[in-house]
Amino acid sequence: MTSIQVHGLTKRFGDVVAVDDLSFGVEEGSVTGFLGPNGAGKTTTLRMLLGLVTPTRGSATIGGTPYDQLTDPVRHVGAVLESSNFHPGRRAADHLRVLCVAAGLAVSRVEEVLDQVGLADAGGRRVKGFSLGMRQRLGLAAALLGEPEVLILDEPANGLDPEGVQWLRRFLRSYADAGRTVLVSSHLLAEVAQSADDVVIVARGRLVTQSSLADLADRATPGVWVRTPHAERLRAVLAAHDIGAELQSADALVALGATTEAVGLAAAGAGVAIYEMTARRFDLEEFFLDLTTTTGGSR
């Protein structure tokens, strides 16, 4: 079942189109990585999804309902947006108590969530003494207060040390494995590659691709890029050698999962001239960069 649905979402700030006709869906019980370079419109999208920013056009719903029309939103959706969401002079536990009171939750949840994020001993401290990582954890604690079935996080790994990032990954994974939904944004694919099921990739406010991480990895398989005047013929030749190939244009193709040696020998055997040949490494991150920059460049 679809949990989060974004449809034709557009946000214009003056002359700048921050989000441009964006549509995607997030499945229940999955971790979905919301990826794109800085300035791609991720934060604006999430803020529109949470009713903080009014869309110029389009809609964003959670379980079919816009956030600001949910009854008891805190019990349905938890969000971690940025690390400076706290009054510096307020104690961490007091920050959570205020949210509990506002949302009508039992104040006993404060101790529970502090414990859950590993801040059990820091509840009585004022937030101004917190490290960035502790603030991120406190933000997550606030999001967990209502035991929501949907968790939305904007760049949660910022400021976390490697151990904290590991912890967060495991946490989000187990949260989704319990049948709940996690949407987590990042500008680094690697950050979500280990824990995400699906990815939604945006650049310059537009959707680049939405797919499962597995499919994305398939598309980023190693191969050999070849420039030849006989691309179509070469593909047939490679097929005869059990090498799959994708035509990129009339004079270029990519031989999937092959080495330069195998492609070169096959081409020589069939007498196909090759002008240029490059091995493409397996690198999801590079593929991601490619995807986001080519989409950016086409506008």
Binding site: T43, T44, R47, L50, G51, L52, V53, T54, Y67, D68, Q69, L70, P73, V74, A79, L81, E82, S84, N85, F86, H87, P88, G89, R90, R91, D94, H95, R97, V98, L99, V101, A102, A103, G104, A142
Partner: protein, 250 residues
């Protein structure tokens, strides 16, 4: 709505800013009482102590909390934007009208409480002091009642103005500085030198309401001032609410 108001009160109680402002308001009381008693009957400072007006001048220290409640109101709203807590506030209660409404109610509760505290402190200092100067103050007299009523109304309504200003001016420092300059400098000059204009300003209404100054030419009668200042309070509150509801929280 009850939860939202309780949350706003709890927000205030969990920062030092609030206690600092409340204490500062109360610290003004003895200063103001002392000043009024020492200067009573002298040139330009108004009526002698043994007149009703003189007693009202002394007791007007009960409204010492007005300016600080204005600041508290400003910080309740502008502070949400300054510290980015507006995000978590609006996530917990997406109905922003309700959030601003809760702030208006919570701030006026604080205003009323502070006005009563300042009134009690004023009476505790002024009554014995006046008695030592052979001026008896009847606690049940209309003079005392009106001064305290005026202080409560002015302080509570100033809180509404504060929340409204804090909603309209997102930058807390600018909002606080602007409000102080307006209330202390601009209105002080206009009410003092152009009373026919000044009595229609918020500050002129408050002055009439709290009988703190009585320039030549006269202010509005107390009921008129109360009505006028209530209109200001509600206008600021309504404009602020409208602005906050429409604004993107980025």
């Amino acid at each position: 709505m009850r939860n939202a108001v309780r949350a706003e009160v709890l927000k205030l109680r969990t920062t030092r800013m609030f206690y600092g402002n409340a204490l500062a308001a109360l610290a003004f009381v003895p200063i103001s009482v002392t000043f009024a008693i020492q200067t009573a009957g002298t040139d330009g400072a108004g009526a002698a102590l043994d007149t009703g007006e003189g007693v009202r001048n002394v007791l007007s220290a009960a409204s010492s909390g007005t300016l600080l409640v204005l600041l508290i109101g400003i910080m309740m709203m502008a502070g949400e934007f300054r510290h980015n807590t507006a995000t978590s506030t609006f996530l917990a209660s997406p109905d922003r009208r309700r959030v601003v409404g809760a702030k208006l109610i919570a701030s006026s509760i604080v205003g009323v409480a502070l006005a009563f505290a300042a009134s009690a402190l004023t009476l505790a200092i002024a009554v014995p002091w006046l008695a030592s100067k052979d001026v008896a103050v009847d606690l049940l007299s209309a003079d005392v009642g009106l001064v305290i009523l005026g202080a409560v109304a002015a302080t509570a309504l100033y809180a509404l103005v504060g929340v409204g200003v804090g909603s309209l001016i997102r930058n807390q420092t600018a909002a606080v500085a602007g409000a102080l300059v307006w209330a202390l400098v601009v209105e002080g000059i206009v009410v003092g030198f152009l009373p026919e204009v000044g009595r229609w300003l918020p500050g002129g209404a408050v002055a009439a309401l709290t009988s703190s100054i009585t320039p030549e030419g006269g202010l509005l009668p107390m009921w008129g001032a109360a009505l006028l200042f209530a209109t200001y309070g509600l206008a600021f509150a309504a404009a602020g609410t409208r602005f906050v509801v429409r604004r993107d929280v980025a």
